[in-house]
Every structure is written in C-alpha cells, then in structure tokens.
C-alpha cells in the first residue's frame, strides 16, 4: 500500500522513471567504504525521501554484506549481488546509479543515459580517478561526492539539472591515424 504510494509519488516527480532502483556498482574493484555507506540508515532514508523504492547493491568481492529488506512498512527494499553477467540489463532498469569513480563504470552509466552519483574512493593513493569525476561533474553530467557525504548529495541533488552526456567519437583519432599511415581518406 505504502509502496504503491511511493511509486506514484516518484512517477509524478520524475516523469520517465521506472519507479525503481538501483544503486551502486563497484565493478571489479574493492570499494567496501561505499557499500558500507550506502547501507547506512541516513543514505537509505534520503533515497526513500527522494522517491526511490528499491536499492540493488553490487558488492563485488567486498566483505561488507548489506542487510536485505523487503521494503514493507514504508522503507526502502534492499537487495544485493556479487557479480552479474547481465549488468547491462540491471543498468537499464535503474533510475539512479551510485558508483565508484572508475572510468568504465562512469561511461557505461552515462552512455546508458542514467543519472549518476560518483563517490570517489579516498583510500586510493594516486587518486587521479577523482579528476575525471570532477571534470564531468563540472560539466553537469553527474554528481561527484565522497562516501561520507553521500546522504547529503542525495538530499541536495536535482536530477533534472543534469545535462545528458553525448557519447564521444573515436573517428577523429582514426582519421589522424589513417592519414599518418598514408591510407586513403574514407
């Protein structure tokens, strides 16, 4: 009953949402800090307040096991998995993705046209990954945050302020390589 109301609310606030899920996707890298953070009551509360009804977490090789919940009595439904071969499908059914800053995850999500929050791993020594997330956040293609700030970011975010990412093009490089090697122009 309550869940139904939630979905209604969500549909009105985000028009083309599938009224569901889904979050987090630490790929093949270990990023327990993010799984732990997503599992906190603060983050779940903010997600629910924003109209999200389901949370699906990819924990990868992580050691933190989130607590599952069926989403009865006015709370977020939480589920998790380790790895999935159908991650592309999962991504398609999501209406929000929370991910680490790996370029693979970032571009897979952006190219799927999904709103994205990137949480930068502060434990990484040479943290060049933050560069990419911050640049794309500056261009308003995603929200960039740190794990401990995640609930604030969710509370403050305005998904409609995001600018869709236009997939890049490898043709200019290909043309330069072809020209350099003396191949005729296409």
């Amino acid at each position: 009953m309550r869940r139904q109301r939630r979905e209604d609310k969500e549909e009105s606030s985000y028009r083309d949402n599938t009224a569901k899920l889904r979050s987090l996707y630490p790929g093949t890298t270990l990023f327990d800090a993010l799984v732990k953070e997503v599992d906190t009551p603060e983050v779940k509360k903010e997600l629910y307040a924003k109209g999200f009804t389901h949370l699906l977490i990819q924990i990868g090789r992580g050691s933190h096991i989130p607590s599952k919940s069926t989403g009865e009595d006015g709370a977020l439904a939480v589920d998790y998995f380790t790895f999935s071969s159908s991650i592309a499908e999962t991504l398609r059914s999501a209406s929000l993705v929370i991910s680490h800053a790996g370029s693979g995850s970032i571009f897979e999500t952006l190219r799927a046209g999904k709103p994205l929050i990137v949480a930068v791993n502060e434990d990484l020594m040479d943290n060049h990954q933050a560069e990419l997330a911050e640049e794309l956040a500056e261009r308003k293609h995603l929200f960039c945050t740190r794990p401990h700030m995640l609930h604030r970011t969710i509370a403050d975010m305005k998904i409609e302020s995001l600018i869709p990412y236009l997939p890049g093009d490898a043709k200019p490089v290909a043309n330069l390589i072809n020209r350099f090697l003396g191949f005729p122009e296409d």
């Binding site: 571009f107 043709k171 200019p172 490089v173 191949f183 005729p184």
Partner: protein, 231 residues
Amino acid sequence: MMEKDKECLLSMLDSKGFTIFITFTITLIVIRVIYVIHRSGKPMRPKTSKPVSTLIVLGSGGHTAEMLNLLSVLQRGRFAPRYYIAAATDNLSLQKARMFENSTNDETGVATAEFMQIYRSREVGQSYISSALTTSIAIAHALWLMIKIRPQVILCNGPGTCFPLCLIAFLFKIVGIKWPFIFYVESIARVKKLSLCGLLLYKLRIADQFYVQWPQLQQKYHRALYVGCLM
C-alpha cells in the same frame, strides 16, 4: 721500421685510439638517436592501402574498453594482422578482445588476430628488490615478443605494460631493424595530468603521434593532439 709502426699503433689503440674510438661510436649513436627523434612523428609511407601489422596493448581499468572503441572505427583490412597483448594477470581484456574480433566479420574472412600475454614489471605493493628482478624478466619477455611480432604499428593508451614495448620499438628504430609507428591515446581518465607512461612517451618523444582527450592536457603539452572524448 715496420715493428715501430706496429708498436705505435698498438699503444695508440691502448690509450688515445681507444678513447677516440669510443667517442666516435658514442657520437654516431647520439646522431642516430637525434635523427630517429627528428624523423619520428613524420609519416614515411607514401599513399598506400597495403595493410600494416598492428600491435594493440590492452589493460584493465578502462584501457581495454577505450581501445576496443577506437578499433571499432578503424578498418580491419588495413590493420592486419592484429596482435593483442595484455598483462598475464589480466584475463578479462583478452577475453573482451576475442569477443570483439568474433563479433565483427573480417572482410578477408581469414582469422587475422593473435592474442598474447606479457609479464608485468610489478604488481601493486611489491617490494623494490623483487621489483628489480620482475622488471628485468618483464623487459626480456617484452623484447622476445617484439622480436617475434616486429609490428609496423603500435596502438596503446596507457597501461603500464605498453612502456617497455614502446621503448623496444624505439630501440628497433635506432638500430634500424624496423620502424614501428607508435600511436598513443592518453586515457580519458586523465584530465589534468598525463599518466606516468604517457609522460615518459611524450617527454622521450617515443610516440609518433600523441593524442589527448581533454583540452586542458593539450594546453600543457603542446605536441599532443586534442581529439575530444572517445568514450
């Protein structure tokens, strides 16, 4: 008279002659290196449609995805045969490359791709002493692979494994065995700073063409070519 000459020659060889010989050799090598650097980055092939054997370096952490994205717009018939190399610890990259090769039919219909693994010079967290050993093994392995493949073109975008391969390609140019063209595309993840591998290939002028995906990098590194985002 003859005896004296011989003695003179020997003593010269011993001291002065030897020094002159060494100096001469070093000068020759330096001139050759300067020539190679000067010549690099300039196309040497006349207009042609003859295919080039291509070495493609893959790597986890987004490098493989970016590389396959580039390969998808290059004409297969021109870049053949293709040799894919990934680190021995990275099984996923070659798997993805195989899927990529199988997904698109070659114009010629012949299998023109080979897949190889290379030892990594060092894993994260390895000690310095064992790093020295593993690095030498990795370099020897890279040399062996390069002698075997002798590619005309190298395509790489920054996994650590590509540096020894490019360095050996550069040595090939200096020795005159082969003139492999090196194309380096800095990863999209590098916005403000080049990766170590990219920086070395840029500063040592090893890459024939050096591409960056963000304008900030082009402003900092003027010889780089800005090509926009590939992903």
